[in-house]
């Protein structure tokens, strides 16, 4: 018995040792090391002599990572995708191929997952490509990868991605905000779309959803807008680009992007308007900056910002000690700055109009911006199907003054309204007027009423 116990003890100790060694072996042979060895062999092929080859092959394996602290991201993709920044790897097999056409978006500065999705922290293929349990962001399908541009480039045309511009336009004009919130503005009938891109629904799902909401999401209250295939695709692009992450401002803040917005920020910060004017707006002590980028070369302006005395002997402009991207950003801003921009900076107020126009125009903007048009139509014509509501559709607002006083309409906007039901036994109509009092100020609501009444009068004239 005692002998057997001693043997058992030694056997178990050996087993424990073996298990530790097995765990160590498992930890020491990750798949990324195999990839790195293949890559070194590929690199060594290009070396002229044996010594250089041996030197390349002797490089120790290591994890490569891009840290994006402001975005809480760590991208280790380049641990295996070793050739992304190496043009000589243009024809190399994956995962080593060079990533062409990136422009300024260098992977070592921008990371990979901000565009491609996937799990940047992972160091094995399945995990990194993200189609694993409990990782919400698998790699984005190639056909939709350009949608990611919109995650930083949130405004204006994105070169090469017309889908985004069109998607954005559709979103703002078709009244999507009537039901969906985006960045805090919009209704609450449908889901908030602010971080929709991060949800990473499959693009295919989104596209089918836009073509026929009920086909993929049974019982959805979303009306069929009868989008064309192209429009559905544009909207899908836009949806995929929506994110909570402040990517653009992160990359600006680490001064990777000399954007005009960053330039404007500096322009205000450094108080350039204390001496300069743009198109007559501002101070007159120093030269007017309107069109300054046409009068001087970029290099000249850059040098002027570094060392004013040198370029312009006797210049009273102080040295601002700006780093290179800040100077680029300032120049970029000056290239686009107009007198109105500067007025805006100076006054921080909107442009003036007659008070009545202002009210009606603001009302119209609100009506579109908060998505009223989604159900009531861009011309107040209504007509969106609403099964089992009286009339079976959302009513037109063109004759609203016949049935209600202005105050009553304001009360309806404030408190919302459930449409009268056609058949008591039928289902609840999916669409209803939400309460806006928590979203819109009283002023906003009054302006919308002003806008509605401005439309009514025109109709009355027609009678």
């Amino acid at each position: 018995m005692e002998r057997r116990l001693q043997i058992t003890f030694f056997a178990l100790s050996l087993l424990a040792l073996a298990l530790i060694l097995a765990a160590g072996y498992q930890a020491n042979t990750p798949s990324w090391k195999t990839y790195q060895r293949s890559f070194l062999q590929l690199e060594a092929q290009g070396e002229p002599n044996a010594v250089a080859k041996a030197a390349v092959l002797a490089s120790p394996p290591e994890i490569h990572q891009v840290l994006l602290p402001g975005l809480q991201r760590v991208d280790r993709c380049t641990t295996c995708h070793l050739g992304v920044e190496d043009p000589t790897m243009k024809n190399a097999p994956e995962p080593f191929r060079y990533h062409a056409g990136l422009g300024p978006h260098i992977p070592s500065k921008f990371g990979c997952t901000i565009c491609h999705g996937g799990q940047g922290l992972a160091t094995d293929k399945e995990g990194a490509h993200g189609s694993v349990a409990f990782w919400p962001n698998p790699l984005l399908n190639k056909d939709y990868i350009r949608a990611s541009c919109g995650r930083c480039h949130k405004e204006g045309d994105v070169p090469g991605v017309p889908e985004l511009t069109e998607g954005r336009r559709l979103f703002e004009t078709q009244g999507c905000r009537g039901c969906h919130k985006l960045n805090g503005v919009g209704g609450s009938i449908g889901p908030d779309l602010t971080g929709e891109g991060a949800n990473r629904r499959s693009p295919d799902w989104l596209e089918r959803h836009f073509l026929a909401p009920n086909a993929v999401s049974t019982g959805s209250a979303m009306p069929n807008f009868h989008f064309t295939k192209e429009q559905a695709r544009d909207l899908t692009y836009y949806m995929l680009s929506l994110t909570n992450e402040e990517m653009g401002s992160y990359f600006s803040s680490v001064r990777l992007i000399p954007s005009p917005e960053y330039g404007q920020q500096l322009f205000v910060e450094k108080n350039c308007l204390a001496c300069h004017a743009v198109g007559g707006a501002g101070a007159k002590t120093a030269p007017d900056l309107l069109g300054v980028t046409k009068r001087h070369s970029i290099e000249w302006l850059d040098e002027q910002l570094v060392n004013p005395e040198l370029v312009y002997p006797g210049s009273s402009m102080p040295e601002y000690d700006l780093e290179v991207n800040a100077r680029k950003a300032l120049v970029a801003f000056m290239a686009t700055a107009t007198a109105e921009d500067v007025q805006l900076i100076l006054s921080k107020k909107t442009r003036a109009m007659t008070p009545e126009d202002v009210a009606i125009e603001a009302g119209k903007q609100n009506f579109s911006r908060f998505g009223c048009v989604g159900c009531h139509g861009t011309e107040l014509q209504g007509g969106v199907a609403n099964p089992n509501a009286q009339g079976g559709e959302v009513p037109s607002l063109l004759h609203v003054s016949d049935d209600y006083t202005k105050d009553e309409v304001i009360a309806i906007i404030r408190n919302g309204r459930v449409p009268p039901i056609d058949k008591a036994s039928g289902p609840t109509p999916p669409l209803y007027m939400p309460s806006w009092k928590n979203v819109l100020s009283d002023e906003d609501i009054h302006r919308i009423a002003d806008y509605l009444w401005s439309k009514q009068e025109k109709k009355k004239d027609a009678w």
């Binding site: 005692e2 116990l5 100790s13 809480q72 760590v74 409990f134």
Partner: protein, 428 residues
């Protein structure tokens, strides 16, 4: 050579192990081993008496202590870095997954073994006089073990952790008057967030380990002071014809003799503390049944240690500890479940928050603590204890059934769903 011998002798002062004196001295001259008696009864080493559950629990705790300290080197207790650190352990730390798996499985194992150990002590009647207080310490150790496991559950900061702790602390908040405040104190806020994470971390790595170590010391100490391991039930005399005799002690009826202290002699404390020992003692004929702890007890303990370690290592090599998505307070899984050992409670809560969440667990803990004082039956023989054995068995089975129902039979909305039915789309 002399120097080497001198160094050796400065460390080891005992006689050679080939002698009985050496075997005894190995035990009581060594600070780590002296918690053992120098000699043990053969019957007490029998596997079927204790199943070595106390040892296994202790060894699991040692595994948890070492892996836990290693894990602390890689962990930042604030969101969302905590979750990123879990991913780093998984993907870039050398043997990181192995380390975390060992900690995880040893933790679950410890909860199970503490409970089994308690059952063993109950069924053998070992909580009876003079061991009542050590049973109380044991129940406290069970509670601290559960708390350790519960606080550790939050640290990965994934969905599993976040919602298990949200549900778990909600159960606690059903306590009248103080429930809400206790929850707030524990979480450092009204919901699980940064404050909760740092508090749970401090409890998990500093406060609770200190408490469990202190209580364990008392627990072990009392095992010895209460007379060592209880005797196996099958060795108990059917009928005590004569009271047990303590070697050299006066008979029960004999009055204690007071002898005047001799002036020629210095007295040790042991000689001053007189009186009858309170525990089961060895009769002269039973002296034959004892063996030296070295090597008989030690080799058995060593085998159990290595069996525990290799079991946990094997599990850790092949089974990965779960890690779900990053904690998201806006996305409630349906159903959100507490850690498995609290699912019995959650099941009770689903029927009645106050009765199930407060009254029942409070009564359970109080009943456990009071068992040795309420059970006045001096006999440890199974045949004499039918009623209480039934009661305890019902308690154990009820707990297990509730946990199994809560774990495997509850689906979205806490509806009764058998595990073989697949529910689609539970999360939104």
């Amino acid at each position: 050579m002399n120097l080497i011998r001198e160094i050796w002798q400065s460390i080891v002062r005992r006689d050679p192990l080939s002698t009985d004196k050496g075997k005894s001295e190995l035990v009581f001259l060594n600070v780590w081993l002296h918690i053992h008696p120098a000699k043990v009864k053969k019957e007490n080493m029998k596997f079927r008496h204790t199943f070595y559950l106390g040892f296994i629990t202790f060894f699991l705790f040692l595994i948890l202590l070492t892996t836990g300290i290693a894990l602390m080197c890689y962990y930042r207790p604030y969101p969302p870095q905590a979750y990123q650190d879990m991913k780093d352990l998984q993907f870039v730390v050398f043997m990181g997954p192995f380390l975390r798996n060992m900690h995880r499985w040893a933790a679950h194992g410890m909860v199970i073994c503490v409970f089994l150990h308690m059952c063993r002590v109950f069924y053998t009647g070992s909580y009876k006089k003079p061991r009542q207080f050590n049973w109380v310490i044991g129940v406290l150790l069970l509670l601290v073990t559960l708390s350790l496991s519960f606080t550790g559950y939050l640290l990965p900061w994934d969905q599993l952790a976040y919602w298990a702790i949200t549900v778990g602390t909600n159960i606690g908040s059903y306590a009248p008057l103080i429930g809400g405040q206790v929850r707030e104190l524990l979480l450092g806020g009204h919901s699980v967030g940064e404050g909760a994470l740092i508090r749970f971390y401090v409890l998990h790595v500093a406060v609770l380990p200190s408490i469990i170590i202190l209580l364990t010391i008392v627990h072990f100490w009392r095992v010895r002071k209460d007379g060592g391991l209880s005797r196996p039930v099958w060795k108990l005399e059917p009928e005590k014809t004569e009271p047990l005799v303590t070697i050299g002690a006066p008979a029960v009826t004999a009055p204690l003799k007071t002898v005047a202290a001799s002036k020629e002699k210095t007295y040790g404390l042991m000689e001053v503390v007189t009186g009858k020992p309170i525990f089961e003692t060895i009769t002269p004929e039973e002296e034959e049944d004892t063996v030296f702890s070295y090597p008989y007890a030690f080799v058995r303990e060593a085998v159990v240690l290595m069996a525990t370690v290799t079991t946990i290592m094997t599990m850790s090599l092949f089974l990965n500890a779960p890690l779900e998505e990053l904690a998201n307070p806006a996305k409630t899984p349906n159903p959100a479940k507490a850690p498995w050992y609290f699912l019995g409670l959650q099941e009770l809560v689903s029927h009645s928050a106050l009765l199930g969440g407060v009254v029942a667990p409070a009564l359970m803990v109080l009943a456990l603590l009071a068992i040795p004082y309420l059970d006045r039956n001096p006999s440890r023989r199974l045949a004499d204890r039918k009623l209480i054995l039934w009661l305890f068995t019902i308690f154990v089975v009820a707990n297990l059934v509730l946990i199994v129902v809560g774990t495997f039979f509850r689906g979205p909305g806490w509806a009764l769903v058998p595990p073989w039915v697949h529910v689609v789309g539970g999360t939104e």
